[in-house]
């Protein structure tokens, strides 16, 4: 499997990179673990591949205090941060993101694959988008007309489709870090692709013994990451002191209200994906709840 011919550029500044991706047939290259297999399969054939590997400014993980509200922070993850570097940084308060990143591929893939590439590729069964959607993360894009921010919810629109214009680059992802939030990601691995057959991320807070602001998101289920509104609705206000009952009643009909078509292939049918959903929703939510209860009282 040999890729088609293309030109290659390796800019060393963000401005030069923006110039290089301006032509409509240019594509950015990060870790290459989505793009290079697609080139080999000849499902894409760009004129120029623009390697972002020289943009050190887009690498790294840091905590940034929220403007105005000093009790909360954001985790800022540079788009080119590899999965392995995020796991090494092991920031506290971003458990679902770390769970999802750990689930990606294998050690060799995590050494090359980047957090931004995982999101920008918008593979329907990628893990990291579930965590960013549950966390209500913000994606920062820069293009010829300047910067813009897109919520994780508004970013991916379908199978390998996002709102990113081809001349825009993803620079970083900010993930809110409430000190009393708990989050987790659980998945059923697809037996053939190794990606998620179904993956669920959950994030919630526990205040005065009650679940507040739950956000639950699934990948692998539909072409774009999907919030599980039925789970969120039943979980909001639930009694964290009776976690088993709360989680079970919230997750048994986890797929209710999912309107988008459920994916299927010759190995995992749509019905199977729907049937798997409650189990993985239950795992993610109960772990998130346990983690939130563990952190309750951390806040002054």
């Amino acid at each position: 499997m040999i890729p088609p011919q293309f030109d290659y550029e390796r800019p060393t500044s963000l401005d030069a990179a923006l110039d290089a991706v301006a032509p409509p047939d240019a594509v950015p290259l990060a870790g290459g673990h989505d793009l290079i297999p697609m080139l080999k399969a000849r499902s894409v054939s760009p004129g120029t591949v623009v390697d972002l590997g020289g943009l050190d400014e887009l690498r790294g993980v840091e905590r940034v205090a929220d403007e105005g509200d000093t009790t909360t922070e954001q985790l800022s993850v540079g788009a080119l941060t590899t999965d392995a570097d995020l796991l090494d940084a092991a920031p506290t308060g971003a458990d679902a993101l770390l769970d999802a990143t750990r689930a990606v591929g294998d050690a060799q893939i995590r050494n090359r694959g980047t957090v931004g590439g995982n999101l920008a590729a918008a593979h329907p069964a990628s893990d990291i988008p579930a965590a960013t959607l549950a966390a209500d993360a913000t994606l920062h894009l820069v293009g010829p007309d300047g910067d813009r921010e897109v919520s994780a919810e508004g970013f991916a629109t379908g199978d390998h489709e996002t709102v990113r214009a081809s001349d825009e680059l993803l620079t970083r992802i900010s993930v809110p870090l409430a000190p009393d939030a708990g989050s987790a990601y659980a998945r059923k691995t697809h037996p053939s692709t190794g990606y998620a057959a179904v993956g669920v991320a959950a994030r919630l807070r526990v205040v005065d013994g009650v679940v507040i602001g739950p956000r639950v998101a699934a990948v692998g289920l539909c072409d774009a990451p999907t919030r599980l509104a039925a789970v969120e609705d039943r979980l909001a206000g639930a009694d964290a002191g009776a976690p088993v009952e709360a989680v079970e009643s919230a997750t048994t009909r986890a797929g209710d209200g999912v309107d988008a078509p459920v994916r299927e292939d010759h190995i995992v049918s749509a019905d199977q994906r729907r049937a798997l959903l409650p189990k993985y929703a239950e795992q993610a939510v109960s772990e998130a709840l346990a983690r939130a209860v563990g952190r309750e009282g951390v806040v002054a």
Binding site: H33, P37, Q108, R112, K188, T189
Partner: protein, 201 residues
């Protein structure tokens, strides 16, 4: 189409070539420079036969462009001897330890694969050995489950994995940390499936 001059240090030697942008690192290693230990199995990033170390990290060289590797240091299994990073060989106490003189170009991980019969055709072995070394550098005393999970990106068509896991365990028994540095990535216990279980799917 563009062509690029690349220089890559492979197993300590500076190798140069002019490559098309689309040239994959594994092909440059094998065909331009004659390093045939990294094998080509699936060509799609799944099997790990093409695993090499690039600037200290194990990677699948079928998913890296040769031009991306310009200026880096690549190590194939042919370039490793001795213990993995941060570990030293315990010389006494292991009744199966092979006298170093027998196979002195092999490090303890390679010798363990040999002694435990952790290979049959050997096609996966270069990748298995490199990833096993990397895993042991991270988790010096892994459980069998951690070994299976850790070798998830390395597929073997022959052994059924049992002897591979034995080999990594035996290698761990031969090694001890030089200094403790704490940070291991740990396990994803909420993620089901995906690790090799020895079935022939």
């Amino acid at each position: 189409m563009s062509e690029h001059e690349v220089t890559v240090t492979v197993d300590g030697s500076a190798e140069r070539a002019t490559v098309e942008a689309r040239r994959l690192l594994v092909h440059a290693l094998r065909e331009e420079w004659g390093y045939t230990q990294p094998n080509v199995g699936c060509e799609s990033g799944k099997c790990g036969a093409c695993t090499v170390e690039m600037d200290g990290d194990v990677v699948k060289s079928c998913c890296v462009l040769a031009v991306q590797a310009d200026g880096s240091e690549v190590t194939t299994v042919g370039g490793v001897d001795g213990a993995p990073e941060g570990l030293a060989e315990v010389d006494a106490g292991d009744p199966r330890a092979t006298p170093a003189g027998d196979n002195d170009e092999f490090g303890p991980v390679q010798r363990s694969f040999h002694e435990e019969h952790g290979l049959q055709c050997g096609y996966c072995t270069p990748g298995m050995v490199l990833r096993a070394r990397d895993l042991l550098a991270d988790i010096p005393d892994p459980s069998r489950e951690e070994i299976r999970e850790g070798l998830k990106g390395n597929v073997c068509r022959c052994t059924g994995y049992e002897n591979v896991v034995d080999a990594v365990e035996a290698a761990a028994a031969k090694l001890e940390p030089i200094e403790t540095d704490g940070g291991t990535a740990g396990q994803a216990d909420t993620v089901d499936g995906g690790a090799p279980t020895g079935g022939d799917d």
